[in-house]
């Protein structure tokens, strides 16, 4: 199709260029904005000479090494636990009715923002939380909440489990979509017919291939968990906190000198995340080696009932915990008087909702404007890229895929701080467009990944028929391809909006606190402990993306009421 690039063909060439600039430009600028002050060079603040003293000084902050350790541990452990639970469930239940039943819960849970999930989980497991209440006083004998440090524990266990809950739906969905590309059923049949047990068949015949496709998303989970801020503020230890939380405190310190220290800390954060990734990579090699040895040993491993039961139970516990966390948010948001050991409040009231409707409104409008604008930019850019790729017969290379994951694998806090340093310098922080463009960096990978497959798998014969009817390429795109892709496009928009709404750091750092969204407001409530108010904010935060997904499923039917294709 050498002669296909016509009409819009030329401006379309800009799409991949813009895409690469959008993905890497802010990253490079941001890293420069962190590295220069970290090495003491920041002329506006009087740093005119390169020095290692700040990189050294920051390590003397109280608890610094513990913070670093915690970041690495949380990054690796969250990812390991989440991955083990997901793949054990896949191995145990692939193709069974249980698999279908449980996986129906996964997509809606994926769209729950991190902060809301963390709040719900805290309300569930706190000493005065729902679980203790449900078992008190009849089983525990407690008439007062026990004096346990469950939330914000110094070892970060609550944070770890909270993150695992939230990362499992993500890894689950990625594994599900990867499974659809590697004929899992045939692979299982081959191994099963050679006499291998069900679970072991999955591990030897499916997992190695599946993991290759999971690798980049997994790295993104490691990077995210090792540098997470919002969940760490809600569930994580306080003194000393995880490194990213410490960084945020230094970044917000009124003492300007602390900017150098914060930048130096961000460099250590890059190192911590890198170390987490490297240890994971070593683990991969180790597991690969042991796996190969076990595979060729010829052991059939048919006795897997206990494994299947355990794996299914784990996944069921995860889903039940997550669902209960959402319910308890709703319960608290309209709870009346609620004395300790009672399982439910003595009454329900919407008075707090009504009182706070006004103050919730602005952050909701801010969040939605940012989300819709940044998502629309991403969808337009993605479609332009994919159409350009189609018209020019370009094959997307693995290297390009790595660029797409770049903003997800470099810790947000490390380069966003650098960008904000530049923006403050030019007085651009705290306004709508910088925040929106910062969101596009993180929305773009998700929108692209979700649209690419449906766009590329489109039946090209429809387009050939349309062209041979004498219609221009642009008309083919706008009146055949895009309308027929309405469903995946709307889903990508809903996903983009969900990702944007959940963003905490870009909104906070680039918005300089002057553009409050529902997410920044909700996280800010964490320290206060007003459960009813937190319930309201977290629930609104959860409902916004949910509305997007529901709309995405209803709009095609409403727009084309008598078309079977959209049902």
């Amino acid at each position: 199709m050498h002669n296909k690039a016509k009409g819009w063909g030329d401006p379309l060439v800009l799409a991949p260029v813009l895409m690469i600039v959008a993905l890497t430009g802010p990253l490079i600028a941001g890293l420069a904005g962190v590295l220069l002050p970290a090495f003491g060079f920041f002329p506006t603040l009087g740093g005119k000479h390169f020095t290692l003293s700040f990189l050294h000084e920051v390590t003397h902050k109280p608890g610094f090494w513990y913070s670093v350790q915690l970041s690495i541990w949380i990054g690796v452990a969250t990812t390991f636990l989440s991955l083990v639970i997901v793949i054990s469930f896949f191995a145990a239940q692939w193709g069974s009715p249980t698999f279908q039943r449980l996986s129906r819960f996964i997509s809606p849970l994926m769209s729950v923002p991190h902060a809301a999930a963390a709040f719900g989980f805290a309300f569930l497991i706190a000493p005065s939380g729902w679980i203790v209440r449900l078992f008190s006083p009849w089983a525990t004998g407690f008439n007062h909440p026990p004096d346990w440090l469950v939330i914000n524990d110094p070892a970060g266990n609550a944070l770890l489990i909270g993150l695992v809950l939230k990362e499992i739906p993500f890894i689950f969905l990625v594994a599900l979509s990867a499974s659809s590309q590697i004929n899992v059923d045939e692979r299982l049949k081959v191994a099963r017919s050679l006499g291998y047990g069900r679970v072991w068949s999955w591990f030897i015949a499916v997992f190695p291939t599946l993991y290759k496709q999971l690798r980049l998303p997994i790295y993104a989970v490691i990077a995210f968990s090792s540098s997470v801020v919002d969940v760490a503020l809600i569930l994580g230890p306080n003194f000393p906190a995880m490194l990213p939380v410490q960084l945020l405190r230094w970044m917000n310190d009124p003492e300007l000198e602390m900017r150098f220290v914060a930048a130096a800390g961000a460099v250590w954060q890059l190192g911590a995340t890198l170390l987490a990734l490297i240890s994971w990579r070593i683990g991969e090699a180790l597991v690969g080696y042991i796996g190969r040895r076990l595979t060729i040993s010829g052991e059939r491993q048919k006795n897997d009932h206990w494994f299947r039961a355990l794996a299914t139970l784990m996944m069921a516990i995860v889903i039940v915990t997550f669902v209960l966390s959402m319910i308890i948010l709703a319960v608290w948001s309209c709870a009346g008087f609620w004395r300790f050991p009672n399982a439910l409040p003595s009454g329900f009231t919407f008075s707090r909702w009504l009182e706070n409707a006004g103050s919730v409104w602005t952050p909701v409008v801010n969040a939605m404007s940012i989300a819709i604008t940044s998502t629309m930019i991403c969808v337009a850019l993605t479609l332009a890229c994919l159409e350009n790729e189609f018209r020019r017969d370009i094959q997307f290379t693995p290297a390009a895929l790595r660029i797409l994951y770049l903003p997800l694998i470099v810790p947000q806090i490390a380069f966003l701080f650098g960008i904000s340093v530049f923006l403050v310098r030019y007085g651009l922080d705290g306004s709508f467009w910088p925040v929106t463009l910062a969101h596009t960096i993180f929305v773009l990978p998700y929108v692209f990944l979700s649209l690419a497959a449906p766009f590329r798998n489109f039946d090209l014969r429809y387009l050939q028929v349309a062209s041979s009817l004498g219609v221009s390429q642009n008309k083919v795109l706008f009146s055949v391809r895009l309308p027929m892709l309405l469903k995946p496009i709307l889903l990508a928009i809903a996903l983009g909006i969900a990702i944007s709404i959940a963003q905490y750091l870009p909104t906070l750092l680039i918005g300089a606190g002057r553009l409050p969204t529902i997410t920044t407001e909700a996280v800010a409530l964490a320290a206060g402990g007003d459960r009813r108010l937190i319930g309201i904010y977290a629930l609104v935060q959860t409902l916004l993306p949910a509305i997007g997904f529901i709309a995405a499923s209803l709009v095609p039917r409403a727009a084309f009421p008598d078309r079977k294709f959209f049902r």
């Binding site: 002669n3 028929v465 349309a466 041979s468 219609v471 078309r563 079977k564």
Partner: protein
């Protein structure tokens, strides 16, 4: 040659290996049947003529339609109608809108609507105009797909196994419908098929690749 579809000394290569070497003239109203095992280049020949040849293919020679060399023309400008095994009616448009899509953009909206109605009326399917294409039977869909192609005023017709998805009862009817329409419009037609019956009914030359 006026009105004819001429394949002049066309050699088709896939990754450097020669697939076919053809020199053919198809006269208006003539149906040429191309048969052969899969991978022999049948569909690639149609792609070459309609302008959709993937870049892993290369060729020499010319394709001339109605005296015009269309070898390098944009697919949209070739005036070559295509029909596939599936009718490929656009599922987001009604039957009438599908036909409107095929009709060239000349004349007022009313004139174009009238043309579409007349085309449906001529084949006794006017009551299907407002239907969702996915609710039509397979045979109806194929006939509408052919009408859509014919309304775009092509100068040649390429049929890529257009009957193989239909069951045997319907198949004969749709086949006669297509051949009669092609002959009535005096279109040079190439039919690619696996089915000897299709070939026998075409009433024209048969070549095997």
């Amino acid at each position: 040659m006026k009105d004819a579809l001429c394949i002049e000394n066309v050699c088709l290569f896939h990754d450097g290996a020669k697939l076919l070497d053809l020199n053919l003239d198809i006269q208006p109203g003539e149906v040429l049947t191309v048969m052969g095992p899969s991978g022999s280049g049948k569909s690639s020949l149609l792609n070459l003529i309609s302008g959709f040849l993937p870049p892993s293919f290369s060729f020499t020679g010319r394709v001339v339609l109605d005296g015009v060399d269309i070898t390098q023309a944009d697919p949209a400008d070739r005036k070559v109608g295509l029909m596939f095994q599936d009718p490929l009616l656009f599922p987001h448009l009604s039957v009438e809108d599908n036909l409107m899509f095929g009709l060239p953009a000349t004349g007022s909206k009313e004139e174009r609507c009238a043309k579409v109605r007349a085309a449906l009326d001529a084949v006794n399917m006017v009551e299907l105009g407002h239907r969702d294409p996915l609710t039509l039977s397979g045979g109806q869909q194929s006939r509408i797909a052919l009408l859509r192609v014919l309304l775009s005023e092509p100068k040649a017709l390429l049929l890529d196994e257009p009957f193989s998805a239909l069951d045997s009862g319907l198949r004969g009817k749709v086949r006669d419908f297509v051949f009669n329409q092609a002959k009535a419009k005096k279109l040079p037609t190439i039919l690619v098929t696996h089915d000897q019956l299709d070939a026998d009914h075409s009433g024209g030359k048969i070549i095997t690749l």
